[in-house]
Symmetry: C2
Subunit: 306 residues, 2 copies
């Protein structure tokens, strides 16, 4: 079975890592959101791509969910001393990724080429693809005006109330090299427990899945557990957009796309209201083993679907 | 007495530091070569400026002569892992300087503005000025063709034989903001023991000292000691250009400019052949005290000149 996983940051990276523990490289492709990519200090930064790649490579910082393990912060401390913008933390090891990606992109390489080479250097054997090689920039309309995503997410700690999202460049963005082929050869798609609004929606918009939907199983793992998220602002966004945050809301969000959904055991009562096949299990991935277990159960669930 | 020091890298930085230990900030301006500036990994790097500023700030690496003390190399190690060009070493603390300088220059600040702000942040009280805010790029013509300076100096370890030098942009480069005023208010100029060919000549060409020369004392400290340099390729360059490297050759090099010259005690015999006032003393600066002592003796020598 060829599997496509759609992933944003931490939650997506964890489930992708679980799947990578089970599936051989030729059977798993991870397509990653690039809508929260941005330019900072002259560097081209792709936070979700890095989180997914670092996690698959075993290089991720297990405490923060972003950045590198065993990181040092000497460049950042000296940037602060020089008065540089310091709201986005860049570790010394992590900086190398951004410097070399920036150098290569400026030299004309595509983001998917850079990602392929970086994965090879890091020993990531499964295929990781950015959703697009074209720039897509998530803009968050808030009660304080429109903010670029990282400005909202990191600089403002998701404090402003969300009114809507706009994805600059999305309507003209093509799927990255390899993405279309990966969709065509896929038997099932897993929508990882990432933010539906700002991580998964941009990927879905680029993929144009509608023509494939009849022959594909599409399963989402709900990022909302008992009305909350493990990390990130998805629940807050649902609420601010007037929707009660819940696994049910996630199912509704992906409405016509889903063959099934995986929800947490804490939502077993709520699950009865969901009108598509639902797997109820522990979806919180605290350990590396949790990731593999959830991946395994999700694959079994897909196999059980008609 | 207002003093102007002209400096390249390590040797120049050491004597500038000696002078800064003696002279109050309002009486010393250091004008630094920018002819070996270059772009690398998308960063704007000014090696001589950084060496001078780090040295004056007490941040310099005492072992290498370039870069920062207590440096870490985590970005560099990861750049190598990703296949980035690795012939120019950039420490993690040092990287902050290049990142923030690049950001500011790209935002429209001049190199002299950036240098002033960095010096303030680092606690450098004496004025350090780049020779020019306009780009000047030293090109070294060698028996293997023309090479950009850092390519020759760092990547090729000064191995190719030198035939001549070309300073791209020099003919149209203006003195940086503050340089002209510093020259006008100077009573004396010390040409630090830096490379005459690639560190001092570009500064002199930008300064156009000829109209000031009648009222100024100009004293050089020879970078050639017993036919050799403490560091750097100056002696090798003299030899490859058909000139026997010596303090005498240095005096001849600056010919019509010098009021006097300081040469090392190892060259006391040779000094008798120099036809301008000559101070013979120990010019090797191994300790911070050596720097102050040589600066003190040089200032006394200037005071003794007619």
């Amino acid at each position: 079975m060829n599997l496509l996983a759609l992933a944003g940051g931490v939650g997506g990276a964890k489930l992708a890592h679980g799947l990578a523990q089970i599936l051989p490289p030729e059977n798993l492709t991870v397509i990653v959101n690039t809508g929260d990519d941005f330019e900072h200090l002259g560097l081209r930064i792709s936070p979700d791509l890095d989180t997914v790649c670092y996690t698959l490579a075993g290089l991720a910082n297990p405490d923060t969910g972003w950045g590198r393990a065993d990181e040092t912060w000497n460049a950042m401390a000296n940037l602060k001393r020089l008065g540089a913008p310091d709201w986005f933390n860049l570790g010394d090891r992590d900086l190398a990724t951004h410097l070399e990606r920036t150098r290569r992109l400026n030299a004309g390489q595509t983001l998917s080429q850079v990602t392929r080479d970086f994965c090879a250097a890091w020993g990531v054997k499964h295929t990781v693809l950015p959703m697009s090689d074209d720039p897509v920039r998530t803009m968050v309309d808030t009660d304080e005006g429109e903010l670029p995503f990282q400005e909202y997410f990191v600089h403002r700690h998701c404090e402003p109330r969300v009114k809507s999202f706009r994805f600059e460049g999305l309507s003209t963005a093509s799927p990255a090299a390899g993405v279309r082929e990966a969709v065509e050869s896929a038997d099932a798609i897993i929508i990882c427990p990432s933010n539906p609004w700002v991580s998964i929606d941009p990927i879905l918009a680029v993929l144009h899945l509608s023509s494939f939907i009849s022959r594909l199983s599409v399963i989402a793992v709900s990022p909302i557990i008992a009305g909350k998220t493990v990390k990130g602002p998805a629940a807050k966004m649902f609420a601010e957009l007037g929707i009660e945050p819940s696994a049910l809301a996630v199912a509704d969000h992906y409405e016509n796309l889903l063959t099934g959904i995986v929800v947490d055991s804490l939502d077993s009562e709520l699950a009865k209201q969901i009108r598509i096949p639902t797997l109820v299990t522990n979806t919180i991935m605290q350990t590396v083993e949790d990731r593999a277990r959830l991946a395994h159960e999700t694959l079994q669930f897909i196999g059980s679907l008609p």
